[in-house]
C-alpha cells in the first residue's frame, strides 16, 4: 500500500527511493555529528565517570547507521507512493502552515483571540476550499466560539484584550 517496487534509478528518480532518502539523512546526521564534535559538553566527564555526551553521540551514530542501512538494504530501490507523487507543494504548504500558525499566535495573543481567530479561521477554511465565503465566515465564528467555550469550561483563559468578559 505504502511502498511499491520500482526501479527509481532507471526513471531518474533516484532521490525519491529509500536510497535517496537515506543519502539525505546521512548528510543531515553527519552535520549533527560535526556539531557534536565541536561542543565541549560532549567530552565533559561527570563525577560518576560518565561522559555527558554519551547518549547524544550514541543516538547520532545509531541514526547514521540506520541511514546507511537505508542506502544498502533490500528495500533500497523502493519508492514510497507519497514521495513518488511529491512536488513543490509538499514543501511549500508545510512552510506556509508554520508561518501562518506562528503569525496567528503572535497576533491573536497580542490583540484579541476572539477578534483574530474568526478572521483566521475564515481565511483558512476558504483557502482550503470552503465555498461560498459566507459559509467560511460563519464556520470561522462558530469554531472560535466553540473552542473558546471549551477552554473556558476547563479553566484555561484565552487572551481577550478587547472583548473581556
Amino acid at each position: 500500500m505504502a511502498n511499491h517496487s520500482a526501479d527509481g534509478e532507471s526513471r531518474g528518480n533516484w532521490i525519491r527511493t529509500n536510497r535517496g532518502i537515506g543519502a539525505v539523512l546521512v548528510g543531515i546526521v553527519v552535520l549533527l555529528l560535526i556539531y557534536l564534535s565541536t561542543e565541549e559538553w560532549v567530552y565533559q566527564t561527570l563525577r560518576d565517570g560518565f561522559r555527558l555526551g554519551f547518549f547524544s553521540v550514541f543516538a547520532a551514530f545509531t541514526m547514521l547507521a540506520c541511514a546507511i542501512v537505508l542506502l544498502f538494504d533490500g528495500q533500497k530501490d523502493e519508492v514510497i507512493e507519497d514521495v513518488a507523487r511529491a512536488g513543490k507543494w509538499e514543501f511549500i504548504v508545510p512552510v506556509i502552515v508554520v508561518a501562518v500558525c506562528f503569525g496567528y499566535f503572535k497576533v491573536a495573543w497580542e490583540i484579541d483571540f476572539l477578534l483574530v481567530t474568526p478572521v483566521m479561521m475564515a481565511i483558512g477554511t476558504y483557502a482550503l476550499g470552503v465555498r461560498p465565503i459566507t459559509t467560511a465566515i460563519i464556520a470561522g465564528v462558530i469554531m472560535t466560539i466553540t473552542i473558546y467555550g471549551l477552554f473556558w469550561a476547563i479553566g484555561i483563559e484565552l487572551p481577550t484584550n478587547l472583548f473581556s468578559f
Binding site: V69, V93, V98, F105, W109, F151, I156
Partner: protein, 514 residues
C-alpha cells in the same frame, strides 16, 4: 503490594463522581467522532486533549483520555462500514465485510455488530489487564538498574522492529527520540547539554508540544497538502447511509450476537496478546484476528459481507485498548503511542508510571482500572445512540477539520506552560512529524524512546555507580540482565522477520481480489 481497601474506596468515590463521569462521557463522545472522521486517529485526539487535562483532577483526566481512546478505536468502524473509508487504520479490516453489508442494505446491522463486538472484547480484555498488570508489576519490582535498562532497550528494539514495514526506519525513529531525549539537563547530575545554545532548551523539550506537533500538526500538514493539490468535493450522502438513520432498520438479534462468539473470542485472545507487546498495536490485532477467523471457519465465508468478519476485526482492535497499558503500568514502558500519551498525562498529574505506582499511588491505579471497565458502558451507550449520527461525520469537509485541529494545536501547546517557545517547538515537531509521515517513518518509536531516554540513562548510570564504573558489571550483573540482553538481539531479529505489515497487506490484497 496487597489490595488496598481504603485506596479502592477512594477510587470508587473519585470515579463515580459527577465530574469524572461527565469527562468520561465527553471523552467517549469526542473519541467516537474522532474515530469516525477519516484523517484523525486516536493518538491525534489524545494528543490534542492532553493539555485540557492540566486543570483536572487525576480521575477526570484519565476519564477523558481513556474514554477518547476507547471511543476512537470503535469509531473508526463507522466510516469503514458507511463509506469503505476506515476512519482509523485499526478499522481497515472492518471494511471487507462491513461495507459489503452496507451495500446490501444491512448497514445498521453491521454498525451494531461492530459496536457489540468492540465493547465485549474491550471489556473482557480490560478484566485481563486488571488481573495481569499487578502480577507483572510484582515481578518488575525485583529488577535492578541493569535489568530495567535492558528491558527498556528490549522494548525500544521491538518497537523499532514492529512499528512499520522497514526495520531501519523504525530504529531511526527511535534514535531520533533518544537524541531529543538528551536535550536539556542530564537526569543524575542536572548538567545542561545539547541545547544548541538556545536558553529555552535548557529545560529540555517539553512532551506536550512535541506530541501535539508530531501527531496532530504533522497529520494536518499532510491533509493540507492533499487539499491544496486536489480540490475537495463533498461527497453526497448516499441513499444507503440514509437508511441507517431509520430506526426501523434491521438490528442485531441476541442469536446473531451469540453466533459470533468464536470470532469475538479469537479477537479477544489475539488483541489482548498483541496489545501487551510493544510496537504491534490495534491495526495488527484487527488484521490478525480477521485473518485467523477467516482461515479457522471457511464455511462461514468471512469476507463476503458477514457479521462474523466484523466481529473478529472489531474485537481484535478493541481488545488491545486495555492491554496496551500493561507494559506501561507494570514496567513503566509504554507499548504504543497512545499508552505513551496516557503515561504522559499520569506524569503531568505527578505520578510516574511503573511498578512502584501500585504502592505509591494505588488510588490512581484503581481509578484507572475502574475507568477502563466503566468506559465500556459509555462506549456502548453513546455508540448505540449516536453511531448513525456519527456516520455523517465522515462527510465533514476536511477544510473545516484542518483549521480546527491546527488552532487546537497552537492553543494546546501554549496553554501547557503559557510559554511561546512551546508553540515554536510544536511547529518544529509538526514539520518533523509531517516529513516522517511522507517518508513512512513510524512516529511511535520516537515518542516512546523520548519518554524512556531519561529513565534508561538513569538506570545505566545507577548501575555504573553501584559497580564503581565497571561497564561489564553494570550491564551484565545478573543472569536475568544477560538473558534480557540476549533477548534484545533475538527478539529484534525475530520480530523484524515476522513482517507483520506485509502479512496485513497480503490479507488486504486477498480481500480486494476476492
Amino acid at each position: 503490594m496487597l489490595f488496598n481497601v481504603d485506596a479502592f474506596y477512594e477510587a470508587v468515590n473519585l470515579v463515580l463522581s459527577f465530574e469524572t463521569m461527565m469527562w468520561l462521557a465527553v471523552g467517549v463522545f469526542i473519541g467516537v467522532g474522532v474515530g469516525a472522521m477519516p484523517g484523525l486517529s486516536a493518538s491525534t485526539g489524545v494528543a490534542l486533549m492532553l493539555p485540557l487535562t492540566f486543570t483536572m483532577g487525576q480521575a477526570p483526566a484519565l476519564g477523558l483520555l481513556i474514554g477518547l481512546y476507547k471511543g476512537a478505536i470503535y469509531g473508526g468502524s463507522i466510516s469503514a462500514i458507511s463509506f469503505a473509508t476506515p476512519g482509523t487504520s485499526e478499522a481497515a479490516a472492518t471494511v471487507f465485510d462491513g461495507h459489503k453489508m452496507m451495500q446490501a442494505g444491512k448497514g445498521r446491522k453491521a454498525l451494531l455488530m461492530a459496536l457489540y463486538a468492540s465493547v465485549t472484547a474491550d471489556f473482557l480484555s480490560d478484566v485481563i489487564t486488571v488481573l495481569v498488570a499487578p502480577l507483572l508489576a510484582l515481578v518488575a519490582l525485583q529488577f535492578g538498574p541493569s535489568e530495567r535498562f535492558w528491558l527498556m532497550v528490549l522494548a525500544v528494539c521491538m518497537l523499532g522492529a514492529l512499528s512499520g514495514p522497514h526495520l531501519a526506519k523504525g530504529m531511526l525513529s527511535a534514535a531520533i527520540g533518544l537524541y531529543i531525549g538528551t536535550i536539556g539537563v542530564d537526569p543524575i547530575s542536572s548538567v545542561s547539554r545539547n541545547t544548541f545554545d538556545l536558553w529555552w532548551l535548557a529545560d529540555g523539550v517539553h512532551l506536550v508540544p512535541m506530541v501535539i506537533g508530531v501527531f496532530a500538526m504533522g497529520a494536518m500538514m499532510e491533509k493540507a497538502v492533499e487539499m491544496v493539490k486536489k480540490s475537495q468535493k463533498a461527497s453526497e450522502l448516499g441513499g444507503s447511509v440514509k437508511q441507517m438513520f431509520s430506526t426501523s432498520g434491521e438490528g442485531v438479534s441476541w442469536k446473531e450476537y451469540i453466533s459470533c462468539w468464536r470470532e469475538m473470542g479469537i479477537g479477544l485472545g489475539i488483541g489482548t496478546f498483541v496489545g501487551m507487546l510493544p510496537g504491534l498495536g490495534s491495526t495488527v490485532g484487527a488484521f490478525l484476528s480477521y485473518g485467523v477467523a477467516k482461515q479457522a471457519f471457511p464455511e462461514k465465508k468471512i469476507g463476503t459481507g458477514r457479521l462474523e468478519g466484523i466481529a473478529a476485526a472489531e474485537a481484535g482492535n478493541n481488545a488491545t485498548v486495555g492491554p496496551t497499558l500493561v507494559p506501561l503500568l507494570a514496567f513503566g514502558i509504554p507499548g504504543s503511542a497512545v499508552a505513551a500519551l496516557i503515561g504522559a498525562a499520569l506524569m503531568l498529574q505527578g505520578a510516574t508510571p511503573g511498578p512502584r505506582m501500585f504502592e505509591l499511588f494505588p488510588t490512581i491505579i484503581y481509578s484507572l482500572f475502574l475507568i477502563l471497565l466503566i468506559g465500556n458502558i459509555f462506549n456502548l451507550g453513546i455508540g448505540r445512540i449516536f453511531a448513525f449520527v456519527y456516520a455523517k461525520l465522515g462527510e465533514l469537509p476536511a477544510p473545516l477539520l484542518v483549521p480546527i485541529v491546527m488552532l487546537m494545536a497552537v492553543i494546546g501547546s501554549y496553554s501547557y506552560e503559557n510559554n511561546p517557545y512551546d508553540v515554536i517547538a510544536m511547529l518544529f515537531f509538526g514539520l518533523l512529524g509531517y516529513f516522517m509521515r511522507v517518508f513512512k517513518i513510524p512516529e511511535a518509536p520516537l515518542i516512546i524512546t523520548f519518554l524512556l531516554a531519561p529513565q534508561a540513562e538513569e538506570n545505566l548510570r545507577r548501575g555504573l555507580l553501584i559497580n564503581e564504573g565497571d561497564w561489564m558489571a553494570a550491564l551484565f550483573n545478573s543472569p536475568l540482565a544477560v538473558g534480557l540482553a540476549i533477548a534484545v538481539v533475538v527478539l529484534t531479529y525475530v520480530s523484524s522477520r515476522m513482517r507483520m505489515t506485509e502479512r496485513m497487506q497480503d490479507i488486504a490484497n486477498q480481500e480486494k481480489e476476492d
